[in-house]
């Protein structure tokens, strides 16, 4: 049963066994497992309930509807946009449906550095099988690969670089190109179309437009969830919510899961709460090709091919290096990928059909922290504090040089970045300019679509917030199953890693293992 906020007309009081906070990659999987185990389950999602019929393929309408903070959530210094879904299905509704596993080197890194001996490829294999089956994960079909992405593969092949086609969780995709604004054809198999409907069929009650404000600990390791029914869009308070339960499964994401725990006073004894955040920052690149070379970046799978020659994944540090991935389908956002204005900018945009767009992804080490402030409404508000390390900045510049060289080699006439001050690169002699490009707030716009950490797994409370079964170290019957549990960045795309980790822990919990 799915109950939307506007269908609630009075204060809501419920009793249940399990409450799942959040309906994205982690929460959807958890809700399914709890319901499948026959446990009375309530899912609370702050965002609204939107379906394919609501998605109009326009950025200016869909980002406020589907993204946390309308897509304007940033680090406190404003340098990095932190994109998160905030809707029924969470980020699985707005991602590009790329299905990448936790890299083997990352698991080895977690084992070596954090002693996470249970998180092996063998122990996760059954979860991969279940998740892949539910999501219909398969290699992207050739017919929906567009020129914008294929040029990465062709150029890589010519240069002898490694590159490949993503696996994806689509079903019957027509290649409309609007993954970022929700799939109007129900092709993208997010939790909104898979785990959540299945959980609902099994008896779970899923409430949208309900925000969790805090959790109260009751006698006997039981809990009361205090929340608010909110107005869709403005998210203004409408009615109070109280739910008594025996188990809480947090899946509100890397930013809001620790904020809720903090508001609830559960941070005592958890020194790592809100720390160790990875953003895996990326920068948008535009490359103008000759008119005859039509990229048509807005049609076909927006993000289907990666160039991974410069990945540097090792057990010593997990993900490293940098990589390029094609991207498309957001004219309003991508128009900003240069530093020009006036007639120069119009000239560039007239070449939109022959402009290639990609993202340069540069994995980071978990150095960010979540700070808190009390808002005027008396609630803790999360603040993402993040400063890239010098090592990261060097790698970032090396990545921009390599990407520029690569795209010029592919035939681009000029290469631009999402920065108001970085100038165009039109030939190889200009690459040294990149050494002087500032990586500072206000001078470059980075994006994080894969925020992780803040409640990382650790063997005890001194090093982590949850154990290897994703149970909170300092309290019984509270689990965390979202991206916040990752000790370091898990993969270049985080939906599958989150689902697999959630599946393993929730499957065990549901089966009493």
């Amino acid at each position: 049963m799915i109950i939307q906020g506007h269908e609630i007309f009075a204060p809501l009081k419920l009793k249940t066994h399990s409450v799942v906070v959040g309906s994205g990659a982690g929460g959807g999987v958890a809700a399914y497992h709890m319901a499948a185990a026959g446990l009375d389950t309530v899912v609370l999602e702050e965002g609204g309930y939107f379906q394919a019929k609501d998605f109009n393929q326009r950025e200016e309408d869909m980002m406020p509807a589907l993204y946390r903070g309308a897509g304007r959530q940033t680090t406190t210094d404003g340098m990095i946009y932190v994109w998160q879904g905030s809707t029924f299905g969470g980020s699985t509704v707005i991602n590009t449906a790329d299905a990448t596993p936790i890299e083997a080197e990352v698991l080895h890194h977690w084992q070596q550095k954090f002693g996470l001996s249970e998180l092996t490829e063998d122990n996760l294999a059954a979860s991969y099988e279940r998740v892949f089956k539910t999501l219909n994960v398969h290699r992207l079909e050739e017919k929906i690969l567009n020129r914008n992405n294929k040029i990465l593969l062709e150029t890589a092949n010519r240069l002898g670089y490694k590159a490949g086609v993503f696996n994806s969780n689509r079903k019957g995709c027509i290649g409309s190109g609007y993954c970022f604004t929700g799939c109007a054809y129900d092709a993208k198999q997010g939790t909104n179309l898979t785990y959540l409907p299945q959980a609902s069929e099994l008896g779970a009650r899923i409430y949208t437009d309900v925000r969790v404000d805090r959790i109260e600990r009751l006698f006997g390791n039981k809990y009361r969830v205090h929340g608010s029914v909110v107005e869709r869009g403005t998210r203004r308070f409408r009615h109070p919510v109280e739910i008594d339960c025996e188990r809480i499964i947090m899946a509100a994401g890397t930013v809001h899961t620790p904020a809720i725990l903090k508001r609830s006073g559960f941070d005592k004894g958890l020194p790592q709460l809100g720390k160790n955040i990875s953003l895996q920052p990326q920068i948008g690149i535009s490359a103008v090709f000759p008119d005859s070379e039509k990229m048509t970046s807005w049609r076909g799978a927006p993000q289907s091919i990666y160039m991974n020659e410069f990945d540097d994944n090792r057990a010593e540090h997990g993900l490293g290096g940098f990589r390029m991935e094609g991207v498309g389908g957001m004219a309003g956002v991508f128009a900003q990928f240069s530093n020009s204005i006036g007639l120069d900018h119009k000239r560039m945009m007239q070449q939109y059909p022959s402009t290639h767009y990609s993202a340069l992804l540069v994995p980071d080490q978990p150095t960010g922290t979540m700070d808190w402030e009390w808002g005027p409404d008396g609630k803790v508000k999360p603040k993402i504090q993040y400063t890239p390390s010098e090592e990261w900045k060097q790698r970032f510049r090396r990545g921009m040089k390599t990407a520029s060289e690569f795209l010029l080699e592919a035939g681009a006439r000029e290469v631009n970045f999402n920065s108001p001050v970085y100038g165009s690169i039109t030939n190889g002699d200009q690459l040294s300019r990149i050494d002087d490009y500032p990586v500072e707030p206000g001078l470059v716009a980075l994006t994080s679509a894969h925020v992780q950490g803040s409640c990382r797994i650790g063997l005890d409370a001194n090093v982590g917030v949850v154990d290897q079964n994703l149970k909170l170290h300092n309290l019984d019957n509270i689990y965390i199953v979202d991206g916040s549990i990752m000790p370091t960045t898990a993969s270049t795309h985080t939906m599958i890693p989150i689902m697999v980790m959630s599946d393993r822990a929730m499957h065990k919990l549901a089966h009493g293992a």
């Binding site: 109009n56 406190t76 309003g332």
Partner: protein, 189 residues
């Protein structure tokens, strides 16, 4: 450029968040002619605004015109689609921080920026060439000046290139589905 760090912290931070300004209400961008700009200072020519003041609208129109002028590679510019009114229609009235941030940036551009480059008078009174040159100077100045430039540039480019009237000029045929905005079902408390 010694005045680059004088913006209120809230304005500076908000304007670093420049690329994806929140959108809420139903948009119906009225068309005005390019010639209409000269008259936008007159209250009678200001369209019905949801959030911005007439003064905000006038300054934002001057900024928009400099960032996306008419003519050049394709005829349509910011004034031709009344971009300032379109932006106004998407600013959530309840987002007071955002509104204050926009207003702070517009005031900075209008009153402070000209003096930073030795110009007298208001930004909106400068010729389009001078306005563009001033914006490029802000871009290259660093500090808050660059942040304000980036903020206003991002705001204008986002809403200009998401407008149906612009798409034919950039070879983009637009969405495959023809639908209105998603419905936000509401009831009173």
């Amino acid at each position: 450029m010694g005045n680059n760090n004088n913006l209120p912290a809230a304005t500076r931070r908000l304007f670093l968040q420049r690329s994806l300004i929140a959108m809420a209400a139903i948009a119906a961008s009225p068309m005005i002619s390019t010639q209409g700009f000269a008259a936008t200072g007159e209250t009678s020519k200001v369209p019905t605004l949801k959030t911005l003041t007439a003064d905000d609208y006038r300054i934002l129109s001057a900024v928009s015109d400099a960032i996306i002028p008419s003519g050049g590679a394709f005829p349509t510019g910011a004034l031709d689609i009344d971009l300032a009114a379109r932006i106004d229609s998407y600013i959530p009235p309840e987002d007071t921080d955002l509104i204050q941030g926009i207003r702070g940036a517009l005031m900075f551009i209008e009153h402070k920026a000209p003096s930073l480059v030795g110009k007298e008078g208001l930004f909106s009174q400068l010729s389009i060439q001078d306005r563009e040159a001033l914006l490029l100077t802000l871009r290259d100045a660093g500090g808050d000046a660059t942040s304000v430039f980036a903020a206003l540039r991002g705001l204008n480019l986002f809403y200009f290139y998401t407008d149906d009237n612009v798409w034919p000029h950039i070879g983009y045929e637009g969405p495959l589905v023809k639908r209105g905005k998603p419905v936000y079902p509401q009831v009173g408390s």
